[in-house]
């Protein structure tokens, strides 16, 4: 029952943005114009389940639009030079639209610019790559990460009104997502004087790698005897560290993060024995790639562009209020599915190849 409530809530959240511009005449969405094109999608790093679901979301969108005759995908494997040559390869293949997850940030700008100058509709999304829309690339489809930080901040303020120590962790050092989230957090909590940000500012870098996250978290757990809240923009990557620390007697604190089935199940397994463990998640935004795809296809095929330029940050689970959803795990599904995504958990579980 709870699982079905979550699925419905997730679907509502995820589709609220992408569906607003997806009204179709004869099954074809409005963003899909008549001009036939081939399209490219390049990932700076494609080697985790989050990216797998995100890429599958792009494929689902493309299936709705018969004008896109072929979709090419390339994974930069976390190497900036490969990510750059992937973009050049897409241009050489003659794609007319290109969606890029520029993990390496501003290092990707020259490659984006060269694709744009070659006449390709170039849409970097999610990570800020610098530059100017209309000059270096067609447009940037961002997300409101400052608002994610604000949402975490408001939840912390409500649930730990007496203040506390907050540890912030994010991806690679200097990434724009982590910096924006920290900005939002500081905006809400920084003025109160009750909360102290511990660890390096603006966040402890982990590269979103579970191994590094484990090293960073265990060092922080050892260093700071009092951690009241941990914030992270990739909640599932914390689970192995939290589990190991909890088993050695550490008290799991409140956590404000992004969702993932493994994290929800970890919460359910530990809530009875960990009284301080409260969990709040924002949607992990696998569907951000859908909005970027719609923009790229609309501009390249002559379709109607979506209304939204920014993918919103939506609240997903709250273990205290149960709103918009209580925390619930689907034990029947793998840990690496994301119930906030538009694609169902069951379908995500079946994804195996790109």
């Amino acid at each position: 029952m709870v699982a079905s409530v979550i699925s419905v809530a997730a679907l509502t959240i995820a589709t609220s943005v992408v569906a607003s511009s997806s009204s179709s005449a004869a099954g074809v969405p409005s963003w899909c114009g008549p001009k036939k094109i081939t399209m490219g999608f390049t990932d700076g790093f494609g080697g985790n389940s989050w990216r797998l679901v995100t890429t599958a979301a792009v494929r689902e969108e493309i299936k709705l639009c018969p004008s896109v005759t072929k979709l090419y995908y390339a994974d930069g494997q976390g190497k900036t030079d490969k990510a750059i040559s992937d973009i050049k390869g897409m241009v050489a293949k003659g794609v007319k639209a290109l969606v890029v997850f520029p993990d390496a940030g501003e290092a990707m700008l020259p490659a984006l610019r060269s694709a744009y100058k070659a006449g390709v509709v170039t849409i970097p999304y999610r990570v800020w790559a610098g530059g100017t829309a209309g000059k270096d690339y067609t447009m940037w489809v961002g997300s409101d990460f400052v608002n994610s930080g604000r949402q975490w901040g408001n939840w912390i303020k409500k649930n730990l009104p007496n203040g506390g120590n907050i540890l912030r962790i994010s991806g690679p050092a200097g990434n724009s997502q982590g910096a924006d989230e920290s900005k939002g957090l500081e905006e809400v909590l920084g003025t109160t004087g009750k909360y102290k940000f511990i660890g390096t500012a603006p966040f402890e870098p982990t590269g979103w790698d579970p191994g590094k996250t484990q090293e960073v978290l265990t060092a922080a757990i050892a260093k700071y005897p009092k951690i009241d809240v941990i914030t992270s923009d990739f909640g599932p990557s914390m689970v192995s560290a939290l589990d190991a620390a909890a088993k050695s007697g550490w008290k799991v604190p409140a956590i404000a993060t992004s969702d993932g089935n493994v994290l929800s199940c970890f919460y359910n397994d530990n809530k009875a024995t960990q009284p301080d463990f409260k969990l709040m998640t924002v949607s992990t935004q696998n569907d951000h790639s859908r909005l970027a795809t719609q923009w790229a296809v609309a501009l390249a095929t002559g379709g109607k562009t979506p209304k939204a330029k920014i993918f919103p940050s939506n609240l997903f689970e709250d273990s205290v209020s149960g709103k918009p959803s209580p925390v619930s795990c689907r034990k029947d599904l793998p840990g690496d599915v994301y119930l906030s995504a538009q694609m169902s958990g069951d379908l995500q579980a079946k994804l195996k190849t790109n």
Partner: protein, 339 residues
């Protein structure tokens, strides 16, 4: 009587602690003392329990790299090998415990095949080891992508138990690291095979002249290395509950660094597996130390790099010639040179 004495001399030579071992041991002790004084939390139970399983993985990878470096090569297929194993043992079973053992066996089969490919490319086609293993690394990543689409699955419960359950308060992963170090050390230092393996690495031509099947030992080094990378991959897959597809990327340079820190020459020959394994502990504790110091990320990277450079300089720099250049005797001599 005299023969007994000769035997004793030989034995003591075998039991002799290498210069690399002494250096690394001193380094580890100094590092732990510095950690206890400057960043006491880095030696706390929680920090050590978080760090040691990763040190064990790095140690096992380093043991493999030691075997290759002993044969005068460098193995850059570490990244692909560890990543492929992690993917096979997590993606293969896909949460089903009953599929874990076949997946582990498949990973070992892939490792042995990869070792043979590496070894044969280097011995038969005389390819440079860096070029050959780099190519094989790309092949391994290609195979991994074709297999899983680049996304491993979550660790199965059984694998997590195998690596993380504890005996006498220590996780199995640590014991596995220690066992691997002991087995490789015994194999290299206490068996005829090991002595011949070192002889081949030190001077393949001389070894050939004595009738040793040089290529077999060289290929054996690469196969042994892959088996060890595979063990490390299995352990890593169990330690990290939700690994990525590129989990091995972090092991390439550290694996070479710890072999050099352990005193094994990059030119091949004698190997010091136990010292390599201990150097893995040094490197991981160094990570934990700088993390616990709470210094900014850039400073952390600098501290680690400088420490590594200092450690490697102990072997790479000819200190005797440096000393002689700066000794007063030489200076006086140079002053006497005609203008």
């Amino acid at each position: 009587m005299s023969s007994v004495q000769t035997r004793e001399v030989k034995r003591s030579a075998r039991l002799q602690i290498s210069r690399g071992m002494k250096t690394v041991l001193a380094g580890v002790i100094i590092l732990y003392v510095a950690s206890a004084l400057l960043a006491p939390t880095s030696v706390s139970r929680v920090a050590q329990f978080g760090m040691l399983p990763f040190a064990a993985c790095l140690a096992i990878v380093g043991l493999g790299q030691t075997l290759v470096i002993q044969q005068g090569g460098i193995d850059l297929s570490v990244a692909g090998a560890v990543s492929l194993t992690v993917v096979i043992v997590t993606w293969g079973p896909d949460r089903h415990d009953n599929r874990l053992i076949p997946a582990i066996l498949a990973a070992f089969a892939a490792a042995i095949i990869t070792g043979f490919i590496n070894g044969l490319l280097i011995t038969k086609t005389k390819l440079n080891s860096i070029v050959a293993t780099l190519g094989v690394n790309a092949l391994l990543y290609g195979f991994m992508m074709a297999l899983s689409g680049g996304s491993p699955r979550r660790t199965t419960d059984r694998l997590a138990h195998i690596t993380n359950d504890k005996i006498f308060g220590l996780p199995h992963s640590i014991y596995l690291g220690i066992i691997c170090a002991i087995v490789v050390t015994i194999l290299l230092k206490r068996t005829v095979f090991g002595r011949r393996f070192e002889a081949v690495g030190a001077n393949p031509r001389a070894a050939l002249a004595t009738g040793l099947k040089v290529e077999r030992y060289q290929v054996g080094g690469y196969v042994g290395a892959q088996i060890l990378y595979c063990i490390a991959g299995v352990v890593l897959g169990g330690v990290i509950s939700q690994p990525t597809a590129y989990q091995g990327d972090d092991y390439v340079l550290p694996s070479v660094a710890i072999v050099v820190l352990g005193g094994t020459s990059l030119l091949g020959g004698r190997g010091f597996p136990a010292a390599s394994a201990l150097a893995a502990l040094f490197l991981k504790q160094l990570d934990m130390f700088v993390l616990s110091l709470g210094v900014p990320y850039g400073v952390r990277t600098l501290v680690i790099s400088i420490s590594l450079m200092a450690g490697i300089a102990l072997y790479a720099v000819n200190w005797r010639s440096v000393r002689s250049k700066f000794s007063p005797k030489n200076k006086a001599g140079s002053e006497l040179q005609p203008a």
